[in-house]
């Protein structure tokens, strides 16, 4: 399998797990690592991609979805976890099922030092908020982990997160396009 095919395959496996689980609303704040999954969600029949501008709105949106009888999933990157903390009290207090799929930044060769703070503390923030975390480093682990996280959220009326490691997602490449190169 080519690198690109492998990169697409585990993202498609997440989408397939959403379909199998009957996920009807996918609330998201974009991340490059979730680009393909967001596009597949937007194109899917019977699935609504809910665009929000900040991650706590996704937590509230999916609580509403469940009140209305629909299952949901949340897509975000690790920096977005910091935005969710108070709103997670809604899911926790009312036992709203909430599976979250988080692309990690701030690790594995991260270029952007501003991503380190949230990246290094994402799992701790989630766990202290009562969210069960599963971490994925290898493409072959994604499908099963996603399935488990969704089942645990909906069977247990609880909150789960799959942390998709930057090693898996790929490290964002930064370039100044040569404009910052004084020797030119």
């Amino acid at each position: 399998m080519t690198d690109q095919a492998q990169a697409d395959a585990w993202r498609d496996a997440i989408f397939d797990a959403f379909v199998d689980a009957g996920i009807a609303q996918v609330a998201y704040v974009p991340d490059a690592g979730h680009k393909r999954l967001i596009e597949r969600t937007q194109a899917a029949n019977g699935m609504r991609a809910m665009s929000v501008a900040t991650e706590e709105d996704a937590v509230a949106c999916l609580a509403g979805a469940w009140l209305g009888g629909q299952k949901g999933a949340l897509l975000m990157q690790s920096s977005g976890v910091g935005n969710t903390i108070n709103m997670l009290s809604l899911a926790k207090t009312c036992q709203f099922p909430l599976p979250m799929f988080i692309t990690m930044r701030g690790e594995w060769g991260e270029f952007n030092s501003w991503q380190m703070q949230m990246g290094e503390t994402t799992q701790a923030h989630l766990e202290i908020s009562g969210v069960k975390c599963y971490r994925c480093e290898e493409p072959e682990d994604v499908a099963e982990t996603v399935r488990v996280a969704i089942e645990q959220a909906y069977n247990g009326q609880t909150q789960t997160a799959v942390l998709l490691a930057q090693k898996l997602v790929g490290t964002k490449k930064f370039s100044d396009g040569g404009l910052g190169d004084n020797k030119k």
Binding site: A24, Q25, A27, R48, M50, S51, V52, A53, T54, E56, D57, A58, V59, A60, C61, L62, A63, G64, A65, W66, L67, G68, G69, Q70, G72, N86, M87, S89, L90, T93, C94, Q95, F96
Partner: protein, 202 residues
Amino acid sequence: MSSIETKPDGLIDRRSFVMHLLADRGDDLCVVGGLGSPCYDMKAAGDHPLNFYLYGAMGGAVPMAMGLAAAQPEKRVMALTGDGEVLMGLTGLAAAGAEGLENLIVVVLDNERYGETGQQTTHTARGVNLAQTAIGLGYKSVRDIQTAAEAAELQEWTMTVRGPACAVVKISPDAAGMALPPQDGVYMKHRFRERLLGVQPR
């Protein structure tokens, strides 16, 4: 039907307005209440299984109503909240405007105050206009309500307007007193889903 009172300051009395808004509502309307006084007003108007009262999660009323409205297109879904709550969740107000749900109605009880914390003024006391904001955020129908007579039209508007819709109702800052709804979120969730979907908690 009850009448909407005007306070000595000339502004709408919140309690009688919400009582009028939710009178004889039936099961075609679901209401998510923003924390604080809007929930007390809802409770005073009559508790209902299709009310969901927030005691926290400030800023969450509108995005929660959005998810519910998307899941239940045959129902009318209202976020009934205050100016302080919606100011904390302006991104949620924007998301719901952008999502374009025809069955979503946002009603903001705007007293220009944070009532729960000692009546400190909000941005709406200093020039921020939430009705104009809603127009800019893509709401298809926006009402800027200043009088009891205008407010009396909102019950029918709620059940007929093509959303996303937003009414900003200027109310008196006179506190109406607490009327405490259920606080147990798990109970509220189960009774809501049982009434709406017929599902029993496991």
